[in-house]
């Protein structure tokens, strides 16, 4: 089950004025793991170049950040009005079942970009049941 319409999500991120400001000068590769599904997000100069939703064997090894959670955790995160502590990545890592990793300094610098990334994903989620 995919929670993301990849094409729509990439367009939405690149058309989002707030993400453009928050992600300025950002070059990074993010690996999202949603249950069994993996996505590689390639960001260059603050724009999302592409999202690979079917990385091959070992093609998901090289990344700067990972966000990992079971599918049911993502479903809760991506509700239009999520339950407490699913409202953003940081509380979901601190108090729920999300795992995050990468260079912490860069995470701080691009904190708002990460938050906006999740918000735009929430606005472009395919189908999410009641979490």
């Amino acid at each position: 089950m995919s929670l993301i319409d990849v094409e729509k999500f990439v367009s939405a991120l690149n058309e989002d004025p707030e993400f453009a400001i928050a992600a300025r000068y950002w070059d990074a590769t993010l690996k999202l793991t949603m249950g069994e599904s993996k996505y590689m997000v390639f960001i260059s100069g603050g724009r999302v170049e592409r999202i690979d939703d079917a990385p091959g064997l070992m093609q998901d090894w090289d990344h700067d950040f990972h966000i990992t959670a079971p599918l049911e955790e993502w479903e809760k995160m991506l509700q239009p009005v999520p339950r407490p502590f699913y409202q953003a990545l940081l509380p979901a890592v601190l108090l729920h079942g999300f795992d995050f990793g990468g260079d912490f300094e860069t995470f701080c610098a691009y904190y708002r970009a990460f938050s906006r990334f999740i918000e735009v994903m929430r606005e472009n989620t395919v189908t999410v049941g009641e979490g």
């Binding site: 502590f85 108090l95 300094e105 610098a109 938050s115």
Partner: protein, 284 residues
């Protein structure tokens, strides 16, 4: 004709802990004094909506002040503060508020504060029970364990980081403009202010083993915490309320760490009944 708010601002000089501070405060209303304490790193503007509330102003003299290093209250002029790490101390903060109340000749004021101000509500009730008729703690707990806080004041991190975290500490359904205004106030804090104030919040404030000695027959204690506050989840405030016999605790549904500024209209619905109780002398 110009449209004015009734809020007025001025400065008062206070001697606290051997130093003189030029302290900024804004006020509105008359009646029972109501002191309003801001959060770490921000300033009294977080209270501006409540402060302008004319229904409350009919019965309460609301006073929103900036503590040193915050808002318009500068560090001391006679102390080389730039040569030391700023650390807000519990003794200083409690003395500061008590001194402000005494200098303004406030008679047993009500105190209300959020975040560090919420913790301070409980500390004032414990250390100065005879000074206040009631304390209202918003986002209060026995203590707040600190995470890795180096990043809150780090040469390689823009202090906008602190404001960005504050945005995620608010309720997802709180009005966007109000959340962004809260962010704005945070973004204007001195880079050292948040981390320095968290020395009180995460290190020196600790009422474990003490909170049960707070005497609510002397000072009424009201506690309110936002449902979405991940820095002080409601469960922590519930534990504090359980320890303070006679206190009253309410979860503010849908809101996070900054109820008074992230959704002023809905916060009003929660706080008016509390203020009415205090005004009519009903203990919680």
């Amino acid at each position: 004709m110009a449209r004015f708010e009734n809020i007025t601002g001025r400065y008062v000089y206070l001697d606290v802990d051997g130093g003189e501070y030029r302290v900024y405060f804004e006020e509105n209303g008359s009646g029972i004094p109501l002191l309003l304490q801001h959060t770490a790193g921000s300033d009294g503007r977080l209270w501006r909506h409540l402060l302008a509330d004319e229904e409350i102003a009919r019965h309460f003299r609301m006073i929103a002040y900036d503590i040193p290093y915050h808002g318009k209250t500068l560090p001391r002029l006679d102390h080389e503060w730039w040569k030391e790490e700023y650390k807000l101390r519990r003794d200083f903060l409690t003395s500061f508020v008590v001194t402000l109340a005494r200098e303004l000749e406030l008679e047993r004021p009500v105190y209300m504060g959020c975040s560090i101000g919420g913790h301070l509500a409980a500390d004032l009730a414990y250390y100065y029970p005879d000074e206040f008729r009631a304390v209202i703690g918003i986002e209060s707990a026995h203590l707040t364990p600190g995470l890795d806080q180096r990043w809150l004041y780090h040469p390689r991190i823009n202090s906008e980081f602190n404001a960005n975290i504050s945005l995620d500490m608010m309720g997802p359904a709180s009005p966007e403009y109000s959340k962004r205004e809260t962010w704005w106030c945070y973004s204007q804090g001195a880079p050292i202010a948040v981390l320095g104030a968290l020395n009180y919040h995460c290190v020196e404030h600790n009422l474990l083993g003490l909170a049960q000695d707070i005497d609510t027959s002397k000072v009424a204690v009201y506690l309110l915490t936002g449902e979405y506050d991940f820095s002080c989840p409601p469960m922590l405030t519930q534990m504090l309320a359980d320890d303070i016999k006679g206190s009253r605790f309410q979860v503010i549904e849908g809101m996070g760490h900054f109820p008074m500024s992230e959704d002023p209209a809905r916060f009003r619905e929660y706080i008016l009944p509390v203020l009415d109780e205090i005004r009519h002398g009903v203990s919680p």
